[in-house]
Symmetry: C2
Subunit: 129 residues, 2 copies
DNA sequence: TTGACCATACGAAACCTTTCGTATAACCTC
DNA sequence: GAGGTTATACGAAAGGTTTCGTATGGTCAA
């Protein structure tokens, strides 16, 4: 089985996915309203995008109500991993560590965040034993 | 001054940039040959892409020889940072730390790499004081 | 100097993304 | 049940990416 993996979302699609991750399953109107705050595209634009995303398998649609309800088909984490892996391949010569180092250098991470990262590092070194 | 910042390279463009980073300034033929190993596109396709990239400012062209020589206009590091910042904004809610953590979790970084990362972390915590 | 070869330039097709107008149907209220 | 509101579906335009064919001119050797 397996079919094809979901394609990498485009910029606009990612904007919609962000809304769905935050709000949970939503109607076109809800997504549109949420996006209106920042970006403004017409209602039918969002509708069309969601229709296309359904075809691509990026979201799933519940048609039981008149106003269809859309939900992401992959968790935020899974999509993030996918995008990350993609970037690692395309721009960091396949080395996740290179990406991490580069990101850390450019990062204005807070003290707490640095602590969390350090903890993660500790655990990884433990497991590597 | 400043003009506009160079646009985010597309996938194909990034493939070409990778070759230029690795080989240094190169002719169309050299880039084409290098890419032939993995991907195969026609010679004029690469030529056209490089012409467009020149217009966009992603590469610079030396026309003193009959076979023009192309070079990247931004260092690999600078482009990587740009792509990273972009991904952080688009998929990680603007939090570099989230990206780092996600990347670290999925990473099979070597012991040395982990050490380097830890050193980086130390320096950052020092400076944050 | 002519022909084979190699380079760039140009234009256009094919495809994808993003946008939205318009058509049509469902629903609600009076 | 008529009219206003709100939904989806559809089609198509505008712009960007990727592809390559063809035109044109420079280079070199016989």
């Amino acid at each position: 089985m397996a079919g094809k993996p979901t394609p990498r979302p485009t910029d606009s699609e990612l904007g919609i996915l962000r809304v769905l991750w935050e709000r949970g399953p939503s109607t076109v109107r809800e997504v549109h309203d949420a996006l209106s705050r920042s970006h403004d595209s017409g209602y039918t634009t969002i509708l069309k995008l969601l229709q296309i995303m359904t075809e691509k398998g990026l979201v799933v649609r519940d048609e039981r109500q008149r106003a269809h309800v859309y939900a992401t088909s992959l968790s935020q984490q899974r999509t993030q991993s996918q995008l990350l892996g993609d970037l690692i391949d395309r721009a960091f010569g396949g080395s996740p560590a290179k990406l991490v180092m580069q990101a850390l250098s450019a990062s204005k991470a807070s003290a707490e965040e640095l602590t969390v990262i350090r903890g993660l590092l500790d655990r990884m070194e433990e497991e590597a034993k």
